[in-house]
C-alpha cells in the first residue's frame, strides 16, 4: 500500500473510476454540442445564449467542467509521478495544476450562472 497526498482520490480505484466516469461525461457533452452545431442553421448570439439559458445546460456544462478538472488533475498527477523524479519540481507542478483546476472550476461556475 502506497500513501499519496496530492492525488485527487483517496485510493487507486477511486481515481481510476473518476477518470473513466469523467471521460464518459465529457464525451456526452461533445456529442451534445456537436448535435447543436449540426442542427442549428445559424449560430447567432441569441441561439448560443438560448442554449445556455436552460438549467439543464447549465448543470450539464458544470458537470462537464467538473469532469475536465478531475480528469486533468488525475491525469497530470500520474504524468508528474512518472516523469518528474525530483520532488521539488513534482510538488511545484502538482500545486500549479491543482490551483489552475480549482480556479477554472470557480470561474466556470461564475460564468455559467451569471448569463
Amino acid at each position: 500500500m502506497v500513501t499519496t497526498v496530492t492525488s485527487l482520490g483517496r485510493s487507486g480505484l477511486h481515481d481510476w473510476v473518476l477518470q473513466r466516469l469523467s471521460a464518459v461525461i465529457m464525451l456526452a457533452y461533445v456529442v451534445y454540442l456537436g448535435y447543436f452545431f449540426a442542427t442549428t442553421p445559424e449560430i447567432t448570439f441569441a441561439a448560443w445564449q438560448g442554449l445556455f439559458a436552460s438549467t439543464f445546460m447549465k448543470v450539464f456544462s458544470f458537470l462537464t467542467l467538473l469532469s475536465v478538472v478531475m480528469h486533468a488533475w488525475i491525469g497530470l498527477w500520474i504524468v508528474s509521478t512518472d516523469y518528474m523524479p525530483k520532488v521539488s519540481i513534482r510538488v511545484a507542478f502538482q500545486a500549479i495544476v491543482i490551483v489552475i483546476c480549482l480556479s477554472l472550476l470557480v470561474w466556470g461556475i461564475q460564468i455559467l450562472w451569471s448569463l
Partner: protein, 232 residues
Amino acid sequence: MKFKIYRYNPETDKKPYMQEFDIDIAEGSDKMLLDVLVDLKEQDPTLSFRRSCREGVCGSDGLNINGKNGLACITAVSSLKSPVVIRPLPGLPVIRDLVVDMAQFYKQYEKIKPYLIADTETPAKERLQSPEDREKLDGLYECILCACCSTACPSFWWNPDKFVGPSGLLQAYRFLVDSRDTHTEERLADLDDAYSVFRCRGIMNCVDVCPKGLNPTKAIGHIRSMLLKSGV
C-alpha cells in the same frame, strides 16, 4: 554472425560499452542464443551472464535481445537478425555485463505475499479444490519470475519501488483467485492505492515478451474488476 554485447565491469570500466564478436554459425543450425554465449565465454572468460537450467524453466537468463526481452536459452539464433544486440534486462541496476540486480523485482514479489493464507482448520491431508477452481490457476502459476515482463514495462521503470509490476500482479491474482485462500479482502486492500495496480496503463509489453506465453495484462484487469466489485 555478428554479436554486439553490452559489457560493463564497475571495477575497471568508467562506463558501459558494446563489444563486437564474430561467430561462424552453420546455416540451419539449431543453436540457441545461450549456447552462443557459452561459446563466447570460452573465448573471453570475463563475459558474465546468468544461466542455469538451459531449457526455459529456471528463468535465469532473461536478456534484452535485439531490443526485446526474452530467455537466451529458448531463443533460436536462426530467428535473430544480424547483428544480434544483447543487453541486460532494462531498468534494473547492472552488477556486471549482462547480470542485473533483481532485488527491486523480488521486493515487489514479496509484497504481494506469494503464499497461501488460509484461516480454516488445517486438514489431515491437503486442502482440496474442485477441478473448476483449480483450472482458474492455469495461465498464472506457470510464471518463472524471469523478470522479462516487469523490465519491459515503462511503469515499472519509472516507479519500481511503488508499482508491483506485471509479474508480481500475475502472482497476486494467482492467490486472489485461489479458492483455498481466505485473505482475499486483505490482499485487495493492500493493492488499492494509486500505484500498486493502477499504474498499469495496459500497453501490453508484458504480454508481448513473456517467454511462457502468459498474459499479465488480463490478470491485472481481473484484479481491477475484483477491486471494483468490493469497492462499490
